[in-house]
């Protein structure tokens, strides 16, 4: 494995012969030493000019060069959520490194060293990057620090206890001697690795929790140097632009490629097969993306739709409505639901509709593969290393270690790049295989245009909820009965055992009616088996819909009970102090209970609140809206409170809340993928609009001070915004929105 991988790297266009990589992957379990000669740049052209030098590699997560550079190896993808910065912060804190000398490099696919300790495979998801790495990265830093201290102690013939470390320098205060990490690296590399290291007391943190620590990707993402998959070019590489069948499950019947082949620069036209979960299609290969696209546009393909999915969104929804009227599987049950609804003082009934949603990351899906010498090399913004490695290995009949993956920045993902079926990666491999059969042996970069990305499936599933709530004569919420209908994300995937129990996919119902203390509660789920539109997790997954129904229904119940929505929740959250904590904080900072400044003549203003826990983090948001006389509206301001345990990088936490609000608002206001007879009706940002700057509210974020272990921030900012805005719109207009997206529903009388 080691030799295969390192020789693959030796074929890098930069020509860097990398001895370190050979050492690095030589089956060194856990902590081990390896002197390295030239830093591996993981395909990062921007960094590929660094000179070789000796250094120190105490474990899988850090290398220290003689030039004082501290290279942190990140096992998690950087897709905008700040993971590179966060992982480096944890390690640098315990190392007492000079932050300005810390750089980050993506880890290769290697589950033994780089597995997500919560997921058991190497991959990023469920907002776990910081939480699962919190101790691991700190220990890695503390170990390296201990070895550097030992090296200095030996050189100076003093006790290690007499030394201090700060900003990448080891000091001996008694004698005034000092040495930089780079000066100690070679000596440290020869020392044994300590098995036990002491971690800092949190009160001594200097980087963790510090505001304004510069992001590690701050510079190269503002000067154009950051390298995404879209930007990688290998010698001899061909770009593949593809034609996909119009319906999921369609296949190629015949291709007339004569017009495409007549275009100068088109190298080959390659039909390829798909699987039950990946597209079949026809790829046009060229050196230039533009030529490949012209070739693609000139193809005349006849598709075979005989086994394709042919239902439209309207039919799917009608089926779901019928399913909701019948009993489903019981996901949660408490108390006596029938008694609660026998004679309620007040009854609230509501149906909710949630459409399919495309992730629409700014970088459309893409993947570069090179099949050569019995190996497959992959370059990708890689979110699911172990699964992708196994899928591709299986596809090619190779051992998994023959598939190497070079990590690159991802231009967004929101879950899309973690596909249990490795769909677009597998497609790139299928094209390279098919091209090889035509005698075209070249690295292949599959580039989906925005249209393939929008129509490419793996959507947030369409859901329908039917709910009824019972209140007693004192206004207490005594019954909650909700039936959710929608496709399972996990069923039928290699991860089914992970989250599907007794037919209930946990990601379908997570967050429904939670966390409220309601004596009689039943949550039912129906999972249609005949709907085969590819679905996937979408930033905050099930919470994207359950938080909406939960938090708008609670608001309805509060109104029905004649109580303030915050006070109404308080009684139901007695056992949930962290929910109550953020709810109270958001309410206080937003001036809940004070009167909103009036709008212009004819305008109505309103304030709404929502609270939701997801991925062990607690977020509450207050939204303020202005509704114009014609029913159009603007979200003016959002006040957000978050409790994510210890905030490792407060600025990143704030950024993730701001971004989560923007992402959630896009879905709330506009997001909808619809099917007509199985064909996706949207294709690009004109018909799948997302949020633009003129729709972005002012956002204020308040972080709860906490000593609890850190929890996720990538996703939890998303769920509360849609219900907070819906509740605000109700406060302004008296009208409930229960169908997503909001669109212009308030414009109709």
């Amino acid at each position: 494995m080691a030799d295969d991988y390192s020789s693959a790297i030796e074929n890098e266009p930069s020509g860097i012969v990398n001895v370190s990589r050979r050492r690095f992957v030589q089956g060194l379990g856990g902590l081990a030493l390896g002197v390295y000669l030239a830093p591996l740049m993981m395909g990062r052209a921007s960094a590929a000019t660094r000179p070789g030098h000796a250094g120190f590699e105490p474990n899988a997560f850090v290398r220290i060069g003689t030039d004082d550079t501290v290279t942190v190896i990140a096992k998690h993808i950087e897709m905008g959520q700040g993971s590179y910065t966060g992982l480096a912060t944890l390690l640098a804190e315990e190392l007492d490194a000079d932050w300005s000398r810390v750089r980050v490099e993506g880890a290769p696919a290697d589950v033994k060293r780089y597995k997500n300790l919560f997921l058991g495979v190497q991959g990023t998801g469920g907002s776990t990057a910081m939480a699962n790495s919190f101790e691991q990265m700190r220990k890695a830093g503390a170990t390296a620090r201990a070895m550097l201290v030992s090296a200095a102690a030996r050189q100076w013939k003093v006790s290690p206890d007499s030394l201090t470390v700060s900003n990448g320098v080891v000091h001996h205060p008694a004698s005034g001697r000092q040495a930089r990490f780079g000066q100690l690296a070679v000596a440290a590399a020869k020392l044994p690795v300590p098995q036990e290291v002491r971690l800092k007391d949190p009160k001594d943190f200097t980087l963790i929790g510090k505001a304004g620590l510069p992001r590690k990707d701050n510079t190269d993402k503002t000067d154009g140097r950051a390298v995404f998959t879209q930007d990688v070019k290998l010698p001899g590489m061909l770009v593949a632009v593809v034609a996909h069948p119009p319906r999921f499950g369609g296949t190629v019947k015949s291709v007339d490629a004569s017009k495409a082949k007549a275009i100068p620069g088109v190298v080959a036209v390659v039909p390829y097969s798909g699987t039950a979960h990946t597209f079949a299609g026809v790829a046009v290969l060229a050196k230039n993306t533009w030529v490949a696209k012209k070739g693609r546009d000139a193809l005349d393909v006849q598709w075979d739709d005989s086994h394709a999915f042919k239902l439209g969104s309207d039919k799917i929804l009608a089926q779901y409505r019928q399913a909701a009227a019948k009993p489903g599987l019981i996901a949660h049950q408490a108390g006596d639901i029938d008694a609660a609804f026998a004679q309620p003082a007040k009854l609230i009934e509501a149906d909710y509709q949630f459409p399919y949603l495309a992730h629409a990351a700014m970088e459309p899906m893409n993947c570069l593969v090179r099949l050569q010498g019995g190996r497959c090399e992959v370059w990708n913004g890689e979110q699911f290393q172990t699964v992708d490695q196994a899928t591709i290995a299986h596809q090619l009949g190779l051992a998994p270690e023959k598939v190497s993956i070079t990590q690159l920045y991802a231009g967004g993902s929101f879950g899309r790049r973690a596909s249990p079926f490795s769909d677009y990666l597998s497609e790139a491999v299928a094209i390279a295989q098919a091209a090889g059969k035509q005698g075209v042996h070249a690295p292949i970069k599959l580039v989906w245009t925005r249209e393939e990305d929008t129509r490419g499936g793996y959507y947030r599933p369409l859901f329908f909820h039917r709910a009824r709530l019972a209140l007693d004569s004192a206004g207490n919420l005594v019954g909650w009965h909700q039936h959710l209908v929608g496709q399972s994300i996990l069923a039928g995937t290699p991860l089914e055992g992970f989250g599907v129990k007794s037919g209930i996919d946990a990601t379908s119902v997570e967050g429904a009616a939670e966390p409220y203390d309601i004596p009689n509660r039943r949550i039912e789920l129906s999972t249609p088996r005949n709907i085969t539109v590819p679905v996937l997790w979408f930033r905050s997954v099930g919470h994207t819909h359950t938080a909406f129904s939960t938090e708008t229904m609670i608001d309805e119940a509060a109104v029905a009970a004649g109580k303030d929505p915050v006070e109404f929740r308080r009684a139901l959250l007695a056992k949930h102090p962290r929910h109550w904590g953020v709810l109270q904080l958001a309410a206080e900072k937003a001036g809940w209970g004070t009167k909103l400044a009036p709008g212009a003549a004819g305008e109505k203003r309103g304030r709404g609140i929502a609270v939701h826990e997801s991925f062990n983090s607690y977020v509450a948001q207050v939204a303020e809206v202005t509704v114009k006389p014609d029913g159009s509206f603007k979200v003016d301001r959002v006040v957000c409170a978050v409790d994510c345990g210890l905030a490792i990088n407060p600025d990143v936490v704030k950024a993730q809340m701001e971004g989560g609000i923007g992402f959630g608002l896009a879905a709330a206001l506009h997001g909808a993928i619809t099917l007509k007879d199985g064909v996706v009706e949207q294709s690009n940002f004109h018909d799948y609009p997302v949020l633009r700057i003129n729709e972005m509210p002012a956002v204020e974020v308040h972080i709860v001070r906490s000593a609890e272990k850190p929890t996720g921030v990538g996703e939890p900012g998303v769920p509360p915004i849609a219900p907070a805005v819906a509740n605000a719109l109700f406060a302004a207009t008296g009208r409930r929105i229960r169908k997503l997206p909001f669109g212009d529903q308030l414009k109709t009388a």
Binding site: K221, T222, Y409, A655, G662, N684, R692
Partner: protein, 152 residues
């Protein structure tokens, strides 16, 4: 033969004049800071300057650049306004995934070159053609104000 300058350097092009400038920059010159996002001038990720005007390079044929000065993200720091915008972006830590940010910076630079002290409404109007899926809009607004302050 089409002649123009890119970031101050003379170039000539004799390929298909209909090729969008975006793909010439990215695939022929390996200047990959300018990004593909939509191909229809809907998202702004491909924004460059043509004689100082922000244009969407995905729908601008190379032929339209004849005799003109092209500035890309790789060269925007050569001018005071561009440098100030990049500095403000870094100071306020605007970026998340970063894919759209070249385009955001190019549009913001063109805005500030034309309007030294834009209001929020001016910013929203000028920047609404640039999509950011990570939702960095709050910081984009703040960074443009910050750059405007730094330039006065």
């Amino acid at each position: 033969m089409v002649k123009f300058t890119i970031n101050g350097k003379a170039h000539s092009f004799d390929g298909d004049p209909a090729m969008p400038l975006l793909w010439y920059l990215r695939d022929e010159l390996a200047m990959t800071g300018t990004k593909y996002g939509c191909g229809m001038a809907l998202c702004g990720a491909c924004t460059v300057h043509l004689d100082g005007q922000a244009v969407r390079s995905c729908v601008t044929p190379v032929s339209a650049a004849g005799g003109k000065k092209i500035t890309t993200i790789e060269g925007v720091d050569a001018e005071r306004v561009g440098r100030a915008v990049q500095d403000a972006w870094r100071k306020l830590q605007v970026v998340q995934c970063g894919y759209c940010q070249s385009g955001q910076i190019m549009t913001a630079t063109a805005l500030l070159a034309a309007n030294k002290n834009p209001s929020d409404a001016d910013i929203d109007a000028a920047m609404s053609g640039n999509i950011c899926r990570c939702g960095t809009y709050v910081r984009i607004r703040a960074a443009i104000h910050e750059a405007a302050r730094a330039l006065t």
